[in-house]
């Protein structure tokens, strides 16, 4: 489809349509939609069982326990009908953010390197976590490089692991999206909290920026930056040219 080239500004941001996938067992889909809305964009609900991406400009895979995470976190979701489309779109350049369970789905789909395993201490853990943003991507453009933010982290299987070669390559290519600071909540290798693909469009993050978008309910509003970043990035590139 075609669209007029939008100018930066709230009207243009509002035209950016960000799809949020609901899998059976997704939990933070409503929170992700709220975050997109508060950032000024238009959230679009996507259903796991269809092949319809509804021409969205970007996709968020939210947190939760897709399909109960009964095989391995994110494993079953990565084979769902909608993920076929998400994977194809991602390969065409449509930005994708996987948060928590969504990060697990992206790793299981092979769109991001490494894997997420049971926390080193074996407990689910929820706390306010300091992160250092380590890479400029379509989802982190609004953050100053190296800035520290506070967002909630909550997971039982959030320990990022990879082979030494994978981890070395991710670091060498500047693909560490964010690192845990002031304590590693789950034993992730090299304090890695999130990674990006080489293009900076496909991004996975274990902590939850969508829970830090309002003073009233979050530990900060630092999480908004992920959502404003993608809206601005798409708006500049010309909304409606993606999926």
């Amino acid at each position: 489809m075609t669209a007029a080239v939008p100018r930066p500004g709230s009207d243009d941001l509002a035209q950016v349509r960000v799809g949020i996938v609901t899998f059976p067992g997704s939990l933070d889909d409503g929170d992700a939609a709220r975050a997109v809305r508060l950032a000024g964009g238009s959230p679009v609900a996507l259903w796991h069982g269809t092949h319809d991406l509804d021409s969205v400009d970007a996709v968020i895979l939210p947190g939760g326990f897709s399909y109960g995470d009964y095989l391995r976190a994110g494993a079953i979701a990565s084979f769902s009908p909608i993920m076929r489309e998400v994977i194809d779109a991602a390969k065409r350049g449509v930005p994708v953010l996987g948060i928590c369970n969504g990060f697990q789905v992206l790793c299981e789909s092979g769109l991001l390197p490494g894997a997420l395993t049971r926390n080193a201490h074996l407990h689910f853990r929820n706390r306010d976590q300091r992160l250092r943003i380590a890479a400029r991507t379509a989802w982190t453009g609004d953050f100053a490089e190296g800035v520290e933010i506070v967002v909630p982290v909550k997971n039982g299987e959030g320990r990022y692991v990879g082979t030494v070669e994978t981890l070395d390559a991710v670091e060498a290519e500047g693909r560490v999206l964010a690192r845990y600071v002031g304590g590693n909540p789950n034993g992730s290798a090299r304090d890695i909290a999130g990674v990006t693909d080489p293009t900076g469009r496909i991004v996975g993050l274990m902590p939850h920026p969508e829970h830090a978008v309002e003073e009233l309910t979050g530990p900060s509003t630092d999480g908004l930056g992920f959502f404003t970043s993608i809206l601005v990035s798409i708006s500049r590139a010309g909304a409606g040219t993606a999926a």
Binding site: L27, D28, G63, G68, H123, R127, G187
Partner: protein, 752 residues
């Protein structure tokens, strides 16, 4: 195996039946025979036995619980006691339903699954009312923290509450964690769930309209939890009996999450005329309750129930407590639409019967009639007992054993050491080891959660309307005086809601007691109910529903009477809520609201330092509690305060510790009179507050008007807790004492 049909039962009146093994008394069995005019079939016997169990029938508590129904009408109460959960009007067209339930015995037998299915059960109760469940809370009580069995039970219970609630996407916004010898072998695992809906969306458990379809949906029915209610909840544990592990149900939170979304979509499409969840007593309960509240009759074809195990007998199917199942009554022309939504959510559904007006519940199995009963006799006309009650013989001695005789700390160093010792005790220490295992953020509406005094949820993003919830109980107070103990539980939960700035509007209860067959326990129970009812009358709060858990005892030793009270409050604007930590603004002044008396009976100080339980609990002044709530609400609305915190367990010492450690900002405090009394007395009706000089000046005027004593204590700032007459405590030392206790007992969580 031969099927025991209705016809066979009529023809073989002398056939001996194992009613005693199923938990029925001889008189109860004969009552069933009188009702039916013949002996019951084995399927009927199974149904009556589970439905007439203590757990399902409230046969020992009914006569006492009637007091709650006698409370004056509340304009806010939309649905009261008797339904799955009470419903309260919170304004702007919103209705809130909330209820607490116990899963004590199952959690002792199998901690993870017992606790997990406790969450699952109460969430379905809330869902059944037509509401979206929006949060859970978990008041937990265990034996001594350093006991080997606590190390078995507690981690499993916490993991179970978290594992199930987290997977449902329900924030855990608070609860309790307490340890006492009396809960060794009888842990209390209570779970509260709260849900919200629009007024017009309230659903009820009834089966009206002859011809309507009866649909079972959710999980398959399996042989788990058979007789769970009658066996587990209605008998005391006894070492001599075989292990009861097979009676505990196993939970599947993923299926429950689908069931929630599926139900809400079905409700939104207006496809049901009645709905009921399957809890204790499974199909027996759901079918008889639905039928007796509707057209009066129902025919069920048991062969249509989807089974996990094809070898199950009809009695087992009727008694199974398999989790994650619901029963809906659907008009015939809406069945297809109903089943389509189930298919969308991949929820198994089957039409198992039809509503009729025969006045009978009939059940068919393999072409034979196996049940033919008046459903009301199963669901509601069970036995009612007026159990004998007697004040325990040791009650006088207990009350005479005044804590005044106990040695008190005197020097500044002794007072400091006492404070540190108490704050490092598991009853008062930091609970993060537990609460970090719960998701408090999901759904994005959690305004306050633990360790704040109450959980606060935003209900409406535009209007900022919200609710506050707290649960409280104190078995030590209850043991000393069950009437006052119950009132103190109401007062504390009420106060915890009030210190957030909310207006308390309703209560629910979870009543944990020993064996009702012991007159001493029944006296405690009766006293506690009186206490709650009188407190509610004075505070103008309706009791919306609740739960009774008896038989919390091992051998002859009952737990302390432990009524746990949940209070719901409403906030017109959640942005104005008060929090407990000092230091959000510079230059805060600190004051205490309420009156401090030398009250140490049942206190944490007496328990932790001296292992003592005696004397009388703190005095109750409900009118003073109401005045305190009025002042706090006005202060929140006017923005006078920057912090407010309830004073209760551990006294002002615990309150100050929590307020200074919250943001790591210390305080300089001077107390009138004896610093020991000032710090460790547990007088009720008090709150610690902080605000700017102008804010506290305005509060002082309001307190004088309303009649709330206000005492200036000092100011916030620095990196010590400095109290006149007490050796100053660097916050770093206080924090270590407070945070290390639970990790030291239950395993440090590393990496940190």
């Amino acid at each position: 195996m031969k099927i025991d049909t209705v016809q066979a039962a009529a023809q073989t009146p002398n056939h001996e039946q194992p009613y005693a093994a199923l938990g029925l008394a001889s008189g109860e069995y004969h009552c069933i025979r009188d009702i039916l005019g013949r002996r019951p079939t084995s399927a009927e016997l199974a149904m009556y036995s589970v439905m007439w169990s203590e757990h399902c029938s409230y046969k020992s508590s009914k006569v006492h619980l009637r007091q709650f129904g006698d409370l004056p009408n509340s304009e806010r109460l939309m649905v009261g006691i008797g339904e799955n959960a009470g419903v309260v009007d919170i304004g702007d067209g919103y209705a809130v339903t909330f209820k607490a339930e116990s899963h004590n015995h199952p959690s002792y037998v199998e901690p993870y699954q017992g606790a997990a299915t406790g969450v699952g059960g109460i969430v379905r109760d809330i869902l059944t009312m037509g509401a979206r469940p929006i949060a859970v809370m978990d008041p937990l009580r265990f034996g001594p923290a350093d006991a080997a069995d606590t190390a078995r039970v507690l981690p499993g219970v916490v993991a179970g509450v978290g594992g199930y609630g987290n997977c449902l996407g329900l924030p855990n916004i608070g609860g309790e964690l307490a340890f006492d010898d009396c809960y060794a072998g009888n842990p209390l695992v209570n779970v509260l769930c709260v849900g919200v809906m629009r007024h017009e969306d309230i659903k009820l458990a009834r089966a009206p309209g002859p011809g309507n379809a009866v649909i079972i949906f959710g999980s398959r029915t399996g042989p788990d939890g058979i007789g769970g209610a009658s066996i587990l909840a209605s008998e005391s544990f006894d070492d001599a009996k075989p292990t009861k592990r097979p009676s505990v149900q196993v939970g599947d939170p993923f299926t429950e999450k689908l069931l929630i979304e599926c139900c809400l979509e079905i409700f939104a499409a207006d496809l049901v005329v009645g709905i009921q969840d399957f809890g204790a007593a499974g199909l027996s309960c759901a079918t008889t309750e639905l039928a007796s509240a509707g057209a009066g009759g129902m025919h069920v074809v048991l062969d249509e129930v989807p089974l996990r195990d094809q070898t199950m007998t009809c009695e087992e199917i009727l008694m199974s407590e398999s989790q994650e199942r619901m029963c809906a009554i659907v008009e015939p022309d809406k069945v297809d639409a109903f089943l389509a939504i189930c298919t969308k959510w991949e929820v198994l559904a089957a039409v198992i019967g039809t509503v009729n007006d025969s006045g009978r519940l009939t059940v068919e199995w393999r072409g034979e009639q196996i049940v033919d009963v008046p459903p009301r006799t199963v669901a509601h006309d069970g036995p009612v007992y007026e159990r004998p009650l007697a004040r325990p013989l040791d009650q006088d001695d207990l009350q005479a054993d005044d804590p005044d005789r106990l040695a008190r700390p005197e020097s500044a160093d002794e007072l400091r050491d006492t404070l540190l010792r108490m704050m490092s005790h598991p009853n008062l220490a930091d609970k993060s080891w537990v609460t970090e295992q719960y998701d408090s953020y999901v759904r994005g509406n959690t305004v306050l959660s633990q360790p704040e005094d109450a959980g606060v949820l935003r209900i409406d993003e535009q209007s900022h309307r919200g609710i506050a919830l707290s649960t409280d109980g104190n078995g030590r107070y209850g043991r000393l005086d069950p009437y006052a103990g119950a009132q103190l539980a109401v007062a504390e939960a009420y106060r915890n809601v009030a210190v957030t700035g909310a207006t308390p509007i309703a209560i629910t209860d979870c009543l944990n007691f020993g064996s009702p067959e012991e007159p001493g326990v029944m006296w405690q129970f009766s006293q506690a109910i009186h206490g709650i009812a009188d407190a509610c009358r004075e505070l103008g709060l309706p009791v919306t529903g609740g739960n009774v858990s008896f038989y919390n005892q091992t051998g002859d030793v009952a737990i302390h009477p432990t009524p746990v009270i949940g209070v719901l409050g409403v906030l017109d604007d959640v942005r104005l809520r008060l929090r407990h930590g000092f230091g959000r603004v510079p230059g805060e002044e600190i004051a205490l609201l309420g009156e401090t008396r030398a009250e140490f009976g049942g206190s944490q100080w007496a328990g932790i330092v001296h292992g003592h339980l005696g004397g009388l609990p703190p005095s109750v002044d409900l009118a003073a509690e109401a005045r305190l709530a009025t002042v706090l609400r006005r202060a929140a609305e006017q923005g006078w305060l920057t912090a407010a915190h309830d004073v209760s367990d551990g006294g002002l010492a615990a309150t100050l510790t929590e307020s200074v450690l919250c943001y790591g900002v210390g305080a300089e405090i001077s107390l009138d009179g004896d610093p020991f009394v000032g710090l460790f007395s547990e007088s009720a009706g008090r709150a610690l507050v902080a605000g700017t000089a102008a804010g506290l000046a305005a509060l002082e005027v309001a307190c004088a008007e309303v009649g709330v004593p206000m005492t200036r204590l000092g100011r916030a700032g620095g990196d010590e807790l400095a109290i006149d007459g007490v050796t100053p405590i660097p916050l770093v030392d206080l924090r270590t004492a407070w945070t290390d206790a639970l990790p030291r007992l239950f395993g440090a969580v590393t990496p940190p």
